[in-house]
Amino acid sequence: MSFYLSTIVVYFGADLMAAWGLNMQFGWAGVPNFAFIVFQAAGAYTYATVTLGPSGGVTAFQHYIFGANLPFPLPFIVSALAGGVVALVLGLITLRPLRRDYQAAVFLLFAVIAVDVVSADVNLFNGSNGLAAVPQPLAGIQNSLGLGGYQWLYAAFVVVICAAVLTLIRALGRSGWQRALRAARDDEPAARALGINAPVLRLQVFVIGGMIAGLSGGLLVGLISAWSPGGWQYSETFAVLTGIILGGISNDWGVLIGTFLVQIAFQELTALFLPQIGYPGLSDALVWVVIGLLWLVVLYFRPRGIWPERRMRVNNAPPKPVERGGL
């Protein structure tokens, strides 16, 4: 049980970081990044390849690019960089003044293609089998701490990283930079006419979000020692988004609660406690159906989420929206 709990903590920490990262892109900057999960996968795969050693070596039956044997904590740094690089390349191509729905479609299709290509091309990241037997960081400690103890230490590590990411998010969220991003999201020509260099700012937030996503991928692989295409279908971005939109876009604590509800409470607990109905794998498929339905419900009834963005108040007198005709 303790084993399971520490695993949950790690999953929640990684999912939460990822959610905050996507919230920066989607909530602050208005970028409909339906390819977000690809950044997490980039980080996850690179973490695996730089820890497994050169391809065809010890784990002779796995083929991949970028093999290396980096010691802790370098692989985590590399995973963050990988997410950032993929974000940079994708961002340079797609972040242009394009109608938002077309842009969303491009991101989505990119996510679909990426999974297909990686699944099919065995030489990239071992195809649809994915990578496995990734050595855990500082595994030597396992002898003294025991597997359970080691896992709790790892969970604590993830919590610390998560807290650091939160500090970064909050600092950025309070800044003039974030305000400029929101302005560019609302009305780009008006923002540019006020001196805001919107394209550069958007690329910055895209890359930072990508790095956080990459890091979250690395943290996940550090624990579960494996990563495969099954874990980053396009629908995964949906799960992250549903958590964000349920909790409240642009509200950091709302995102936390929403992510907990969707990623942890819903997915894990249904897996645990719901009786295994039908055939194996059915409940997984049904979970996605429910997530889709949940998405529609939230979009219809409370598109701003349960906990809306907290507005800045400077005037102590309570503002009342005035009726037309007066001022």
Binding site: A171, W177, I196, A198
Partner: protein, 264 residues
């Protein structure tokens, strides 16, 4: 608050505020502006009038940078801005409003002004990652100015309302107030009184005059002759993409060019 800048006004006698020559703007296959020219020597309120399709907004876009001119030049206080993108022109002092009142819906009225006022250094990523004390100092100056401007425009009470919660007239006022956060040298107003209640139109006119007094040149596209007659020292008439008259209000009104423009 809107301090006059005698030092700047004195130093710039040799440069016109705005010098536009032979500007051509094409949209698709249509030439919206064909060889327009105008010069604003000193701070004044210049009205730009003409029928729909005359090219007024396109000319404004060419000056503001939203549209590229195929030829000619746009010079602000001696500096050639013809090839510069909008955000660079804004940093040099050309600030504009839009026909659709470009107020940021997801920001409060106060934040609308703040985002305009913090300046380039304050809106960068580097600044965001800096210390709390530094950013607080930066925002403090802008906050104080924002409060001042909102109070001058008598809309301090709506400071905490989101852009989308404001009425049409309030949006216009916020948009114009926001322009002042950047100490513009040249203010381009694109039909600022459309859809605004009459008493507010008067207020906007008053504010324009005060802005002019503080040393800012204003180029205002307007359909309302009342507004033009009240605040404009000078009027430019456009028709079919060209400037057909340019002079003091009374002279232009007498000359019959306005009638000609609308009948063309």
């Amino acid at each position: 608050m809107l301090q006059a800048r005698p030092d700047e006004a004195a130093g710039r006698i040799d440069h016109a505020v705005l010098d536009v020559r032979d500007v051509r703007v094409r949209y698709g296959g249509v030439e919206a502006v064909s060889g327009a020219a105008l010069k604003i020597e000193a701070p004044q309120v210049v009205g730009l009038i003409g029928p729909n399709g005359a090219g007024k907004s396109s000319l404004l876009a060419a000056i503001g940078g939203q549209a590229q001119s195929a030829s000619g030049s746009v010079v602000l206080l001696g500096e050639d801005v013809t090839r510069l993108p909008p955000h660079r022109r804004a940093r040099l002092g050309i600030i504009r409003t839009f026909q659709t009142a470009g107020v940021f819906d997801g920001l409060t009225a106060f934040e609308n002004l703040l985002v305009a006022g913090v300046g380039e250094e304050g809106s960068t990523l580097r600044a965001a990652l800096g210390t709390r004390a530094q950013s607080r100092r930066r925002t403090q100056a802008a906050s104080d100015l924002a409060r001042q401007v909102l109070e001058e425009f008598e809309i301090w009470h709506i400071a905490d309302l989101y852009g989308r919660e404001l009425s049409g007239g309030q949006r216009r006022l916020v948009e114009i107030a926001r322009c002042l956060m950047r100490s513009p040298k040249l203010l381009l107003l694109d039909e600022p009184t459309v859809g605004v209640a009459p008493h507010l139109v008067d207020r906007i006119g008053e504010h324009c005059k005060r802005i002019r007094e503080s040393g800012v040149a204003i180029l205002i596209v307007e359909h309302s002759m009342e507004v033009i007659s009240t605040i404009c020292d000078r009027v430019i008439v456009m028709a079919s993409g060209q400037v057909i008259d340019d002079g003091p209000f009374d002279v232009v009104m007498q000359s019959g060019s306005v009638k000609e423009a609308y009948l063309a």
